[in-house]
Every structure is written in structure tokens, then in C-alpha cells.
């Protein structure tokens, strides 16, 4: 296993290097550079433009600049933003990456879980209007044009019903006299939710190992304890008001991304379940006298999980790049929006930094997929 991981790490590094090379030259191939954009004013003499170019290193040939960039990158220096000069790129990523990860990780997990559970049940109860309705809903969500759907969601929840804010990360008017910065509040939100989730998972995992009578009590406790803990924490710290403002802004984009991803997961689970149902070992399980629910969850769903798992992990990898559309429509200041803005103004260090994050996330999620396979399917082993 360790040898596999080691070899895999080297492969990932090589892939990343190739990825960086391709993206660097593609961004550089855009006509014009940031110096042109910053000196659009006709009163600025051309010499000044050349001086700016030389200062940013843009007068060097692309190959030389790429080698300098890569050299600095692997020494931990991602450069400074051209547009927000002299802000370090790493700062920008540190600020925006958590926002994107929270948005898409939450949506991915939610859509995966709901899609898997409903797909499983739908495959089991076939026929009738439920099957038609859910299949049509699934296909609609799976194929819908994302920007249109996101706009419709904004129209419905933010305009027509006026329940949720239409976009952005927070409402600036509420933060005028905030004691700490929005990023600090957001970081606390991430950590507290993480600990709460860990408690829930450990509680549920442990509840399967105790006698049935204590099971419900333990499960209720593992839900209530983190919930009460969260409420107390935000109440006592006095930051609850600000955390709620960010959370409110998070709901609509999470809901939209969840719904779009849900359709595919649900349909995939359903198809995968229907295929697995035809297997002989499912008949054996029924012949053994196992109740329907056990046959479904233990024997069918467990085998049907594999392709769905692939879908989940790949969607995690693609979430950052796919998020460009969502983040733009919801004005969510994450990595996707940053990437789009920096690419538009040829802010090469920021564009490269964010694209590298996309590449690294994709590589990591594929690694997680492969490790997950080994856990899910005993036939898959790595050497």
C-alpha cells in the first residue's frame, strides 16, 4: 500500500507539472497582457507601459518566464497578484478556497446521500406514477442548463418568495461593527461544523455495535449533543448573528448545486441497482430468507455503490472548475470566480495559482477514488 502511494505521488507530480505547463502557455497565448489593460489611458506615454512590462517581467520570453515561475512555485512562492499588486497569490487562495470547498463539498455530500437513498428506494419499488415522476425529475435536473436553473432559483427564492439573499458572501451592512473579520468567522464555522459532524458519524458508527435498545438513544444523543453544542457555542461567543448571515448566503447556492448533482446520482444509483438486482447472489440472498430491506441494503446497494462512488469523487474534482458558473451567478467570491476574473485581465500569477488548485484537487480526488475502490470492492487490490 505504501509503495503504491509513493509511486502514485510521483505520477501525480509529473501530471501536475504537465498540467501547469499547458495552462501557463494557454493563458499566456491570450492577446495582450495586464500592462495593456492598466495603461489604457491615452495620456500615459508608451515608455511607461514598457517600464511596467519590464517591472512585471512580462518582457521576457514565455519559456524563460515559465521556468522562473515553476522554480518559484516548487520553492513555495506563488508570486504576487498583478491586479491587486502586491498581494501574494497564496493569500488570495487561502481566503477563497475554503468558501468554494465548503459550498461544493456540502452540496456533493448532500446530493450523493439523498440521490443514493432515493435511487435505492426507486429501484426497489418500480412502476406507477412515482417512477415516472422521479425519472422525469431526475433527467430534468441532470440535463438542465445550469445558468438558467440558477437564475430560476434566485428568482423563486430571492425575488418571488424573498426568503433568501440573491447572492454574495455576506450582507456588508450587518458587518459594520463586527468584532472580527468575515474570514475568521467563516473559519470558525468550518471547524465547529467539522467537529459536530465527527461526533455524529462516530455516534452512528458506534450505535451499530450496541444492542438494539440502546441504539436509538445513542443515535438521538449523537444528533442532539452537536446541535446543542453548536447553538451554545455561537450564542456564547456572540458571533451567532454574523455566522447566520454567512450561512443564509450559503443556502441558495448549496441548494442549487445539490439539486443539479442530485438528478445524476439518483438516476445512476437507480440504474446500477436495477443491474445488480439481476445478479444471482441477490436471488441467493432472498432464498436465504433475508428480509427485503436487508437484501436491498446489504446485498444490492453495497454492490451498486461502486459506480456511484466514482461519480461522487469525480464531481468533487470538477467542482472548482464547474463552480465558475455557479460562483459567477451567485457572486460567490470563491476560487471559480477568482479564476474567471484573473484570466480575463491576464493576471497570470493568480490565474496559474487557482488553476493549479483545480489540478491538485482533481488529482487528489482521483487518488481518493482509487483508495475508496479498494475498500468497497475486495476484488480490487493495488500492488
Amino acid at each position: 500500500m505504501w509503495r503504491f502511494l509513493g509511486r502514485r505521488f510521483v505520477q501525480m507530480l509529473i501530471t501536475l507539472l504537465l498540467f501547469q505547463a499547458v495552462t501557463y502557455f494557454l493563458i499566456d497565448a491570450q492577446p495582450g497582457d495586464i500592462a495593456d489593460l492598466l495603461t489604457l489611458d491615452p495620456n500615459i506615454p508608451p515608455a511607461e507601459r514598457e517600464r511596467l512590462r519590464a517591472q512585471l517581467g512580462l518582457d521576457r520570453p514565455p519559456a524563460e518566464r515559465f521556468i522562473t515561475y515553476i522554480g518559484n512555485f516548487y520553492r513555495g512562492n506563488l508570486g504576487v497578484s498583478f491586479q491587486e499588486y502586491p498581494r501574494p497569490v497564496i493569500d488570495i487562495i487561502k481566503e477563497r478556497l475554503p468558501r468554494t470547498v465548503v459550498l461544493f463539498l456540502t452540496a456533493s455530500i448532500l446530493s450523493f446521500w439523498t440521490g443514493f437513498v432515493t435511487g435505492k428506494i426507486l429501484a426497489w419499488r418500480r412502476g406507477g406514477w412515482i417512477e415516472y415522476a422521479s425519472t422525469i425529475t431526475g433527467v430534468t435536473l441532470y440535463t438542465v442548463f445550469t445558468p438558467w436553473f440558477a437564475l430560476m432559483m434566485i428568482w423563486l427564492f430571492a425575488v418571488a418568495l424573498n426568503w433568501l439573499p440573491a447572492g454574495k458572501f455576506l450582507d456588508p451592512l450587518k458587518w459594520l461593527d463586527a468584532p472580527i473579520s468575515a474570514n475568521a468567522v467563516f473559519a470558525r464555522m468550518i471547524w465547529s461544523s467539522f467537529f459536530a459532524l465527527v461526533i455524529v458519524f462516530v455516534g452512528f458508527w458506534f450505535s451499530n455495535r450496541v444492542p438494539r435498545r440502546q441504539r436509538l438513544v445513542l443515535r438521538a444523543a449523537s444528533l442532539l449533543v452537536p446541535l446543542v453544542g453548536m447553538l451554545l457555542y455561537w450564542r456564547l461567543s456572540g458571533l451567532g448573528f454574523y455566522a447566520w448571515d454567512i450561512a443564509r448566503h450559503l443556502i441558495l447556492p448549496v441548494l442549487t448545486v445539490t439539486l443539479i448533482a442530485y438528478g445524476g446520482t439518483m438516476l445512476l444509483t437507480r440504474t446500477s441497482m436495477l443491474e445488480t438486482l439481476r445478479e444471482d447472489y441477490v436471488l441467493t440472498a432472498r432464498a436465504k430468507g433475508l428480509p427485503d430491506k436487508v437484501v436491498r441494503d446489504k446485498h444490492v446497494a453495497r454492490n451498486a455503490l461502486l459506480p456511484v462512488w466514482t461519480g461522487l469523487v469525480f464531481s468533487l474534482g470538477n467542482s472548482v472548475s464547474g463552480g465558475i458558473i455557479t460562483e459567477t451567478i451567485f457572486s460567490w467570491p470563491g476560487i471559480g470566480l477568482t479564476l474567471l476574473n484573473s484570466a480575463l485581465v491576464a493576471d497570470i500569477p493568480v490565474a496559474m495559482g487557482t488553476l493549479t488548485v483545480v489540478g491538485v484537487m482533481t488529482l487528489i480526488s482521483h487518488l481518493i477514488a482509487d483508495i475508496g475502490y479498494a475498500f468497497l470492492d475486495p476484488r480490487i487490490r493495488y500492488h
Partner: protein, 327 residues
Amino acid sequence: MTKPLLSVENLTMHYTTRGGEVAAVDDVSFSLHEGEALGLVGESGCGKTSVAMSILRLLPDNARILGGQIWLGDLELLSLPEPEMQKVRWGRISMIFQAAMNSLNPVYRVGDQIIEALELHWGDISRQQARERVAELYQLVGLDPALMDRYPHEYSGGMRQRAVIAMALACNPDVIIADEPTTALDVIVQDRILKRLTEIQKKIGMAMIYISHDIAVIAEVSHRVGVMYAGKLVELANTVNIFERPLHPYTAGLMASIPSIHGEKRDLVTLGGEPPNLLHPPSGCRFHPRCARATGICIEQEPPFQDYGNGHYAACWHPMEVDYGSH
């Protein structure tokens, strides 16, 4: 005669398909006594497996049981509520499936799949006891108990077959239905497994229904043989009688089509024609279009399933020979 362990009475089962009703099992009756091995033989699609699936009530959604009763002791299985039926499955009637190669779930250890059945039907059994029981079963079928912690893909075809047999034996069922258990295996492995199966059957004394299209295999393992044709049981007798004096022309045809390596060289006799389309079964005796002895009555009326003495039953208007004297 003692009360039979399992008796199937006038079982009729149809499949509803896009083309219409398929009469897969039509008015089939037979019984199985304690310690007995009954063979069911017939061409593919004659309804052998459908009979087995009706007994366990594991039929697909498009199947409908139109009539008949299945008695397991004093229990009538067809009218049993589903939770009760779940106790009967594997607890009292277990099955070795046609595609035994794929009857093990690939993601669980083989031993755990047997333990799953034990824990379900024997309830208060500790993990350690269950593992000991699996080890015992593995020895019985000729497998190394150390293999129980391996996954199905680490087993060879013959080993998987043995594990499936061990699983079928796990809860000491009254009846085991073996549906073509050795069809997917090569002849040598097939022979070894059949020998082991008959040994176990004698040793434990359980009753068994053995389903196969291979009449040689049936001859080797069963005490009595039922011959099925187009959803009907056409002949039922003990193994010696059915081989030595078949009454139904179809049975006679089956016997004649077995090549023999002993005795004189003879031409292999084959049955002409094709198995009937069960969407539109032939009138009267379903075998009449392929039967050399068919006359007018065979086309018009269904022959009754009657006793020719010695427990030899057949459904034919013109049986091959009647030498039991009672008729």
C-alpha cells in the same frame, strides 16, 4: 406409506409476457419423502426451475400461481404470509442454484455469507459458534476451513460450488433443492461434487430435489425420477423402472438419446422436432406433434396422469409397455 415431507399438488403457474400467457407449470403433482432424492429431468424451458422457484416462492414479478397447493409437513406454503415464508426459506428448504458460480456476493467473505444465514435462522448463536459450524460444513463438503475468510473471487469454480453446497446445508434444512448445481463445471469436478453430494445426502438423510437436463446425472443421484415436458409432469417412477421400462414415448426418446460407451455400437436416436412454444401449447397431449405413436385422441384430449403400478405414473394414451399387470 408414511406422510410425505413435501408434496406439490396440482401446481399451475403462468408467466405473463408481452406475447401473452406462458403456461410454464401445468397441473404438476409429486411428493418427496424423508431422506429421498427425487430427480426432475426435462429439456430447457420445460418448467423444472419454475417448479423449484414456486416451492420457495421466489418467482419473478410476472409469474402468477393459478392453482395448486404445496405442503411442507402441515404448512401450506403458497398461502403462508411472507414473514413466515422467510423462516421456511433456508431454515427448512434451501437451494443450490443453477449458476452457483455467481451465487456468492463478491464483496463479502464466503464464511460471513454462511454465517449470515446461520445468525438469521438460529438466532442466539455466538460468532465463535457460527464460525465453528462453518468450519464443520467446510470439512463436510471437502473444503479447507481456513478458506472461510477469503472472498469468492479467490475460490476456483469447484471450490465455489462446494461453498454453495456448504451454505445450503448450513441450517440443517429438511429439503434441499439442487438446480443444475454442476452444469457450469467440467466433467471431473462435476463427478467429484456429485459423489460428495450423494454421500452427504446419505449421511445426513435430508431429502433432496435434484433438477437437471442431464439424465445421466439424474440417474446417478436420485431414487425416483420425474420427467417434465412442456410444463407438465409426464412420467414419475423410481430410477430403475424409469430407465428400464419407460412408459412415456418422450422418456423412451430421452433414454435412447444417451450415448453409451458400453455394449454394442448403435446409432444415436434423437428426438425429432422442437420443444413446443408454451405461448400456444399443442392441444391434447403436449407431446403429440413429436410423438410417433400419436393418434386422434392424443390431439383431442389430455391424457390423465395415472398409476401403472409400483408407483410408476405416466400421462400417455399409448404407453410403451404395461408389464406391471395391474392396469
